[in-house]
């Protein structure tokens, strides 16, 4: 295991120490570093809380900041945070307008957020929940509720964050976030595994010339494993899976997230994006926004995902809104 770390069991906490040192805009509540919150909650605003396992930076905590999220429960590597941690974050974040839970579709996270929500209710904090499930590779159409949440949650964060920043009420923030969710689809491909520090060995084996299409961000298997092809062909296959789900027609507008899983260089992401752009050009679909980089990773895994969000007049300005978090910055217009 070739990693820069001290003791594997200190991986998460030492990472958090580094983050708090680097970014005074964020802090923690209840004396627990894993209860990650903004240092400047906005009075009267709906709070947006996320959470999940560690090992996916900038997911999840990286999006806590201005016009985006207010708090995040930080779990062990690939482990949900506990309901208690989520409850503490919820209490800190609540400014009287309620809290939206927005996280990915994993058993542990669902159980813990649900428990936290029930406990919050006892404290008279209203919560609502939207569960990201954008990974088209993880279940068939009609069974979308079984799908994994992956990088596409970035768009949900943007929409929820912008809506809450406009001081919309919880129900409206939830409605817009659900709407965004219905418009986001993701497909991923991996070339190499990652190593959970406390496990100390790769999460799976893959041949020197193989790729896994539809892989999850914890190394969950995908749709097919086969010989690595030229990236144009890889992008075509990934895009075709997304295009098969929803109509993308002349005049439609989309936002794109080209997300590196960890070890894949930016150069390669741009080469991949080139082909995706060509495919959307052919359909005469307009790309209104594109973000390209690392937004949801699996530590040192090589690979990338493509997320496409269809926009309309209601969603586009929310996606376009200015954001300033320690890990993600976007100037409006």
């Amino acid at each position: 295991m070739k990693k820069f770390l001290n003791k594997p069991e200190d991986f998460v906490d030492e990472m958090l120490e580094g983050i708090y040192r680097a970014h005074p805009e964020v802090t923690f509540t209840d004396g627990d570093m894993r209860c990650f919150v903004t240092a400047k909650p906005v009075p009267g605003k709906v709070g947006i809380v996320t959470g999940g396992g560690s090992g996916h930076l900038p997911l999840f905590l990286g999006y806590v900041g201005k016009n985006m999220l207010d708090g995040a429960g930080v779990g062990g590597v690939f482990q949900s945070p506990s309901s208690d941690q989520l409850l503490n974050v919820t209490k800190y974040v609540d400014q009287g307008a309620g809290v939206l839970y927005l996280y990915g579709n994993y058993t542990g996270d669902i159980m813990n957020f649900d428990m936290a929500g029930e406990l919050a209710e006892l404290d008279d904090i209203e919560t609502a929940t939207v569960v990201g499930n954008d990974d088209v590779a993880s279940s068939v159409v009609g069974e979308e509720h079984k799908r994994r949440g992956v990088a596409g949650i970035f768009f949900l964060y943007k929409v929820a964050g912008a809506a809450a920043a406009q001081m919309k009420p919880l129900a409206e923030v939830k409605r817009l976030t659900e709407k965004a969710k219905s418009q986001v689809r993701t497909m991923g491909v991996a070339l190499s595994p990652c190593i959970v520090p406390e496990v100390g060995k790769p999460s799976f084996q893959i041949g020197d010339d193989e790729m896994e299409i539809g892989m999850g961000i914890h190394g969950e298997p995908g749709i097919s494993r086969k010989a690595l092809e030229p990236v144009d062909a890889v992008v075509e296959e990934m895009a075709s899976k997304i295009f098969a789900e929803q109509s993308y027609e002349k005049g439609d507008e989309v936002a794109i997230l080209m997300n590196g899983l960890g070890a894949t260089p930016l150069e390669e992401l741009y080469i991949a994006y080139r082909r995706l752009g060509q495919l959307l050009d052919e359909k005469e679909v307009k790309i209104r926004h594109v973000w390209l980089g690392e937004f949801a990773t699996s530590m040192e895994m090589a690979g990338f995902s493509i997320s496409i969000m269809k926009l309309d007049d209601e969603l586009e300005p929310l996606v376009a809104a200015e954001v300033d978090t320690p890990f993600f910055k976007h100037f409006a217009g």
Binding site: G53, Q79, S83, D84, T107, H218, P221
Partner: protein
């Protein structure tokens, strides 16, 4: 008097659970590695060890010890094991409330409560290749043995055997929930990690209760 043990002296059962989990840390992770992310032993060991540090000396009663374990798993461990085993142990503890002695009747109730607790929080079914697949047959087997006239100790043995059979039966199952479910058919052919730890826990409990009845 029917066979039973004193609840207030039985907190040591939880210590034995912790020891059993720690002793099998590597093996449980190994099993999880085949179709999961290879950390089940690590997760369990982390949660159980943390609970052990809170038990105190002298040891608390069995329900208090189970509740400490449950709370530690739920509040500190998180993940999926936190809620699942957290509810398993708190459901068991609930059935001990108001009791002085743990006998077969009480134990049967504990098993049922544990099964219902895990089933509810995890929204999984028997046959989904989870720890329910050790817990459910064990619960049923204990009931049936006891009702058919076996004594507490014999019924515990029957339960232990059933838990093991249930655990081994997960080899032929396809995972329907959790991480492994994304493997579909590829999840067949190996043990389920949760069923393995659950079987271990039930057998450790059975052994500990029997020893205390003899002692």
């Amino acid at each position: 008097m029917t066979a039973s043990i004193a609840i207030k002296d039985a907190g040591g059962l939880v210590v034995e659970l912790i020891e059993a989990i720690n002793a099998n840390r590597g093996w449980l992770s190994e099993i999880d590695g085949a179709i999961g992310d290879g950390d089940h032993g690590i997760n369990m060991s982390k949660g159980f060890t943390a609970a052990g540090a809170k038990l105190g000396d002298p040891l608390p009663s069995l329900p208090d010890a189970l509740n400490t374990l449950s709370e530690t798993l739920i509040e500190d461990l998180g993940g999926s094991m936190g809620p699942l085993y957290g509810y398993l142990f708190s459901s068991m503890a609930d059935e001990l409330e108001g009791q002085e002695r743990l006998d077969a009747e009480v134990f049967a109730k504990m098993m049922h409560a544990a099964f219902e607790g895990v089933k509810e929080i995890g929204s999984a079914d028997v046959g989904d290749k989870t720890l329910l697949d050790a817990l459910y047959p064990a619960t049923e087997a204990f009931d049936e043995a006891w009702r058919s006239g076996k004594d507490f100790a014999e019924s515990l043995d029957t339960m232990s055997a059933a838990a093991e059979k249930g655990r081994d039966a997960t080899v032929d199952m396809v995972a329907k929930v959790g991480r492994a479910s994304r493997l579909g058919e590829r999840s067949r052919g190996v043990l389920d990690a949760g069923a393995t730890s659950c079987c271990l826990i039930l057998q450790t409990l059975a052994k500990g209760i029997k020893q205390r009845m003899q002692g």
